[in-house]
Structures are given as structure tokens and as C-alpha cells.
Amino acid sequence: MMHQKSVLRVVSKLLIPPILLFALYVQFHGDFGPGGGFQAGVIFATAFILYGLIFGVATARRVIPAAATRTMLSLGLLLYGGTGIWSLLLGGEFLDYNLLASTPSAGQHLGILLVEFGVGMTVAGAMTTIFYTFAAQTLGGDDTPKEEV
């Protein structure tokens, strides 16, 4: 039934690239205007969720497999923690960005960029994973027997 809604299909095809681009803009422009990793991650996930809703979750899984979203989920947190460890190895305190580059201000800039990117990846991965998990339940439908308590 979902495949007959041609207006939705065309409009969402037009919308998804700008949504992804906007997510990247929000991610990397968050230093200057409103935005940052949390919002960018959510917007990024929204693009995939919209795609999954319109074209079916199986198609969305082919575009971005569940394993990829789970990897994103963990890599983001690792990137965040890794930035902290990196500053430790350079002789500073945990998450002290001043040492990451030659000057403190460049270091702060790099540190914030990495950390925000980590946040964005984790949030995008988490939201897409959660959506896939919920959608996988409906694929089963009602024909599967209920588990015993």
C-alpha cells in the first residue's frame, strides 16, 4: 500500500539530499550558529528514518545496513573518549584540548570538532538503530506465536 503513494515518494526523494546536507551544515557550523552534534545526529537519522518509512525498512537497510549504524553508534563514543585519551597522552588532562595542536586556540577548535563529530555519530547511530529495531518487530506481524511468560 505504501508503494502507491507517489507524491510521498517523489517529495521524499527531493527532500532527503537537502536533509543530509543540512545535517552536515548543522554539524560543522555549530561553532558559529545554533547547532552541534546532538541536533546534527538527529537530523541525519531523520533522513534515513524518512527513507525507511516511505520506501520500506528493507530498502533502507540495503542503503545503510544495521551493522553500519551499530558501528557508528560505538565509533562515535570511541572518538569522544579517544580525544580525551589523546590529550592525556600528550601530557595534559583528560579532554584538555589546548595541547591537541600547536596553539591552544587551534587545539580547542580541533578538539571541539572531534568531540562534536563523535556526539553526532553516536546520536545518529543510536536513533537509526532504535528505529530499525522497532521496525523489525512489525515485519514479524501477528503470525508469529507469542512467547510464553
Binding site: F38, V123, K146
Partner: protein
């Protein structure tokens, strides 16, 4: 009396919303509705926090030329992260509801309690 307390209106509005959410959580039996109630409560707390950070004549906390007064950025940071964490925990709660529905076949609190009582009763008679 109302003029004296006019500056407190923001807190009262947040408290009113909080209480609507609280009532849904404790009085309604449907689990999904309880989660919606928790969300209402949560957003009310966010509004409460953000309203504390507002300064008269201030602008959004983005540095710019010739701007002297900024609203307090600290509540913004706290609530920004809290919103995203809130939706993640909501998803967890919804997953629990799906799991409960799979085990009990219902998401009404009262029916779940009845099923549990019946199961206990069965065990008692068997012993």
C-alpha cells in the same frame, strides 16, 4: 496580589504542565499514555529551567559585536543534552512496553496485574 507575583507566572505555568503530566502518570492505566505523561512532565521541567536562564533585554548566547547582555547559557547546555537523553530513554521505555505487550498481550496496567494475580493463584492451587 497578582501584580506582586506577575514575575512568577513562568514557574506557575511550568508547574501546571508538570502536574498534568504527573496526573497522567499516576491516574491512567495505559502504559503508552503513562510514557506520554512522563514526556509532558519532562518538557515542563525543561521550560522551567530555560525560563530561569532568561535575562530581560538579553539575546541568545552567541557572541556578536555590540551585544552586552546575553541570557544564561548554562541551562541551555544542560537541557540540550537532557532532551536527547530524554528521547533515548523514552525509546527504552517504549521497547519495554513492546516487550510487555508481547508477553501479556495487553498494555493496560490493571489487566497485567490481573494476569499476574491469576498466575499466582494458579501456583497456589497447584501446591
Amino acid at each position: 496580589m497578582f501584580e506582586i507575583h506577575a514575575g512568577l507566572f513562568n514557574y506557575w505555568a511550568a508547574i501546571a504542565l508538570m502536574m498534568v503530566g504527573f496526573y497522567i502518570v499516576i491516574a491512567q492505566g495505559n502504559l503508552i499514555k503513562k510514557i506520554v505523561g512522563l514526556n509532558i512532565f519532562q518538557v515542563a521541567v525543561f521550560v522551567f529551567y530555560i525560563s530561569m536562564g532568561k535575562i530581560d533585554g538579553g539575546t541568545a548566547p552567541i557572541l556578536g559585536e555590540g551585544i552586552k547582555v546575553y541570557s544564561n547559557p548554562l541551562p541551555h547546555v544542560l537541557i540540550l543534552t537532557a532532551i536527547v537523553v530524554g528521547v533515548a530513554t523514552t525509546a527504552l521505555a517504549l521497547a519495554l512496553v513492546v516487550r510487555i505487550n508481547r508477553s501479556y498481550g495487553t498494555i493496560e496496567e490493571r489487566e497485567i496485574i490481573e494476569i499476574n494475580h491469576a498466575a499466582d493463584h494458579d501456583e497456589d492451587t497447584r501446591l
